[in-house]
C-alpha cells in the first residue's frame, strides 16, 4: 500500500496548521468532502497515528539508509510474531481511503501499524502487512495487504 487519505473533518484545524498539512488537501470532485492525503512517494512522508489517546503524525517508515531502522514503509506481521522487533509499540493508523497499485479503496476502521524509535529518539511508524486475501489481491494485484481494523476485505 502506498498511500492513505483521511477526511479533513477528522483532523483538528490546529493540527493541520501545526503540521503544515494544507498542501496535502484535495477533493475527488468539486462537491466532495476535503481529504488530506498521506503518500509514501512524497519527500517527507507522514502517517496519522492514534498515540497516547491523541491524533499525532509521525514519519512513515524509513527512507534514510544511514539509519539502523529498516528502509521501507511496511513491516511483515510474521516478522513481528517471530520476535524480530523489540521495543516497538502497536498503534492504530486511522484512514478513510487506502491506495495500493493505483486503486483507491474504502477503509472503515483504519490499519494496524507499529511505532519504533530510532537511535536519536525519532518516532517512525510502519504499516503492518499480511498475505493478501484473494479479493484484495485481485483488486490491487498486490500479494500483501495491510492489517485492517474491524474490516474484512
Amino acid at each position: 500500500m502506498v498511500g492513505l487519505s483521511l477526511l479533513r473533518s477528522e483532523i483538528p484545524e490546529t493540527l493541520i496548521a501545526q503540521r503544515h498539512l494544507q498542501n496535502r488537501l484535495t477533493r475527488r470532485s468539486d462537491q466532495a468532502v476535503e481529504e488530506i492525503r498521506f503518500l509514501w512517494r512524497v519527500r517527507h512522508s507522514l502517517l496519522p497515528v492514534w498515540y497516547q489517546n491523541e491524533l499525532s503524525f509521525f514519519e512513515w517508515g524509513n527512507k534514510d539508509r544511514s539509519n539502523r531502522l529498516p528502509c521501507g514503509s511496511h513491516l511483515m506481521q510474521e516478522e513481528l510474531k517471530n520476535g524480530c522487533w523489540r521495543n516497538c509499540q502497536r498503534v492504530e493508523v486511522p484512514a478513510n481511503f487506502g491506495l495500493a497499485n493505483h486503486v483507491w479503496f474504502h477503509v472503515i476502521g483504519g490499519f494496524q501499524g507499529i511505532l519504533i524509535h530510532d537511535h536519536s529518539g525519532g518516532a517512525h511508524v510502519y504499516l503492518l502487512t499480511q498475505p493478501a486475501s484473494h479479493y484484495y489481491e485481485v483488486m490491487t494485484r498486490s500479494k500483501r495487504m495491510p492489517l485492517f481494523i474491524g474490516q474484512g476485505i
Binding site: L7, S9, R28, S29, D30, Q31, A32, V33, N96, F97, H102, V103, W104, F105, H106, S133, H134, Y135, Y136, E137, V138, M139, R141, G152, I153
Partner: protein, 406 residues
C-alpha cells in the same frame, strides 16, 4: 383517475446504500466491486460520467477514473435498505410487487389520498419520503400500465419522476427510448424487430399487433398492449413458481484440487437446500453445470429417487456428477448446482426410497437460523477457509427472498 400503476426504482442503489452508512462518500465517484474484487457491479453517477460501465474490470475502471473509490459489496446491508423501502412503500399502497432488490411496482391509485394533493405533487412527496426516511434517492414513474410506468422512471433518472398520462408526453418518451431497453425484449427479439425497422418503443407501439404476436409470441403482444397504455401484466404480490432454483458462481480462479472442488460443491448444495426449504420446493432432478478451462461448458444431470429437498439425498447425487469430469483434474472456474422438476412440498409423489432431512441436518438448520448462516456447516467446506472467514460471502443477491425478478 383509477387503475394507475407506479414503478419506483432506486438510483444507483448499491452506491446509494453505501452512502447511507458512509455519508462522506457523497459526491465521490464510487464503484462497488463483485465478490472476487475483479469487476465493477455498480457505480455512482460520478463514476459513470467518467466512462466506467457495469461489469467493467477494475483495471479498466481505474484507468477511466483514477480518483474513484472502490468498495466491497455487502448484500446483507443492501437487503436491510431494500426491505425498508418495501415497508415504506406499503404504507402508501395496498398492492406492492417486490420486483427486485431496488425496484417496486405498486398500485398508485391511493397516492393523491395519502398525501392529500394532486397526483404530480403526491409522486414528488413520495420521492421525498424515501430520501428522508431511507436515505436512498429514487426515481418514480406512474402511468396506466407497468411498462409505461417503468419507462417513466427510467426516463426520469436520476432523482426524477414522471406521471405519464398525457398522450403527447407518452409519445415523446416512446420515441426517445430504444426498443431494446424494454423489459422482455432481449437481444434476439431486438434483432427480429430491427430487421423490420422497429427501433424505438414508438415504432413497436405503432406496429401491427398480430404481426408482433406472430414474431414475439404472447409475451410480445402483452408488451404491445402495455405500450398502448392498456394494463395486461398485473402487479404480482407473490413470486410465481420457479422453473428451477440454482446456486453457485465463480470459484475465484481455476480449481483442480478434488477436495477443494468438493468443498465448493457442498457449499453450493447447502445454499441450494436452504433455498429449496425457504421456497417450500422439492426437486426431482439435480444438474451440475461447470465452466472448465478455455471457458468450455460442462453439464450433467441426474434423476433422483423421488422428489426431495434433503441434503442427504442431493449431496451423493451431485458428488457422483462431479466425479464424471473427464479427465479428472481439469481446472474448473465456475460451478452451478440447479434443482429442476420442482414440486411444492406436499404436492409430490411419495417414493419407497424417500429420504428426508436427517435429525442432524434439521438441527444444523435450526442452529444457523439462531446463531447465523453457516455457523454450523459440513466439514467438507473446511477446504475453503478464506471464503468462510469473510462474512461478505455469506449473502448473495439470490439469498434475498420474495423478489419476483432475479
Amino acid at each position: 383517475m383509477g387503475n394507475l400503476i407506479g414503478h419506483l426504482d432506486a438510483d444507483c442503489f448499491y452506491a446509494s446504500a453505501e452512502r447511507v452508512r458512509f455519508p462522506h462518500l457523497k459526491e465521490i465517484p464510487i464503484g462497488v466491486l463483485g465478490n472476487q474484487g475483479a469487476c465493477v457491479i455498480a457505480k455512482s453517477y460520478e463514476m459513470k460520467a467518467r466512462g466506467v460501465t457495469t461489469a467493467m474490470p477494475i483495471w479498466d475502471a481505474v484507468s477511466h477514473c483514477p480518483e474513484g473509490v472502490y468498495i466491497k459489496r455487502d448484500f446483507q446491508w443492501y437487503e436491510v435498505l431494500s426491505r425498508k423501502m418495501l415497508e415504506l412503500l406499503k404504507q402508501y399502497s395496498p398492492t406492492v410487487e417486490y420486483y427486485s432488490i431496488d425496484e417496486f411496482f405498486f398500485d398508485a391509485d391511493y397516492l393523491e389520498q395519502s398525501f392529500d394533493c394532486d397526483l404530480p405533487d403526491a409522486v414528488a412527496a413520495l420521492q421525498a419520503k424515501f430520501l428522508e426516511q431511507v436515505g436512498v434517492p429514487v426515481s418514480i414513474g406512474v402511468s396506466t400500465s407497468r411498462i409505461l410506468a417503468k419507462l417513466g422512471s427510467d426516463s426520469a433518472k436520476p432523482y426524477g419522476w414522471y406521471v405519464l398520462i398525457d398522450p403527447e408526453l407518452i409519445a415523446k418518451l416512446l420515441q426517445e427510448q430504444p426498443v431494446g431497453e424494454l423489459t422482455g425484449i432481449g437481444f434476439r427479439s431486438g434483432l427480429k424487430l430491427e430487421a423490420l425497422g422497429i427501433k424505438t418503443c414508438a415504432d413497436l407501439a405503432a406496429a401491427d399487433r398480430k404481426m408482433i404476436r406472430d414474431l414475439l409470441t404472447i409475451k410480445g403482444e402483452a408488451i404491445w398492449y402495455e405500450l398502448q397504455g392498456e394494463s395486461v401484466i398485473p402487479i404480482q404480490v407473490t413470486r410465481p413458481q420457479h422453473k428451477c432454483v440454482a446456486r453457485g458462481g465463480s470459484l475465484g480462479g481455476r480449481v483442480t484440487d478434488p477436495e477443494v472442488l468438493n468443498g465448493w460443491l457442498i457449499r453450493n448444495l447447502e445454499r441450494l437446500t436452504e433455498a429449496l426449504f425457504a421456497y417450500g420446493y422439492q426437486c426431482g432432478r439435480v444438474c451440475l453445470e461447470l465452466q472448465l478451462k478455455d471457458r468450455t461448458g460442462w453439464s450433467r444431470q441426474v434423476l433422483l429417487h423421488g422428489h426431495t429437498d434433503a441434503f442427504e439425498a442431493l449431496a451423493p447425487a451431485a458428488q457422483k456428477l462431479l466425479r464424471q469430469i473427464d479427465p479428472a483434474g481439469t481446472p474448473v472456474s465456475y460451478m452451478h448446482i440447479i434443482a429442476k422438476d420442482l414440486r411444492t412440498a406436499g404436492q409430490r409423489q411419495l417414493s419407497l426410497l424417500d429420504q428426508q432431512t436427517s435429525l442432524a441436518n434439521g438441527l444444523k438448520n435450526r442452529v444457523n437460523q439462531v446463531i447465523g448462516r453457516f455457523a454450523l456447516r459440513s466439514g467438507a467446506t473446511l477446504t475453503l477457509p478464506e471464503l468462510y472467514s469473510d462474512q461478505a460471502h455469506d449473502h448473495e443477491i439470490c439469498d434475498i427472498y420474495g423478489k419476483t425478478c432475479f
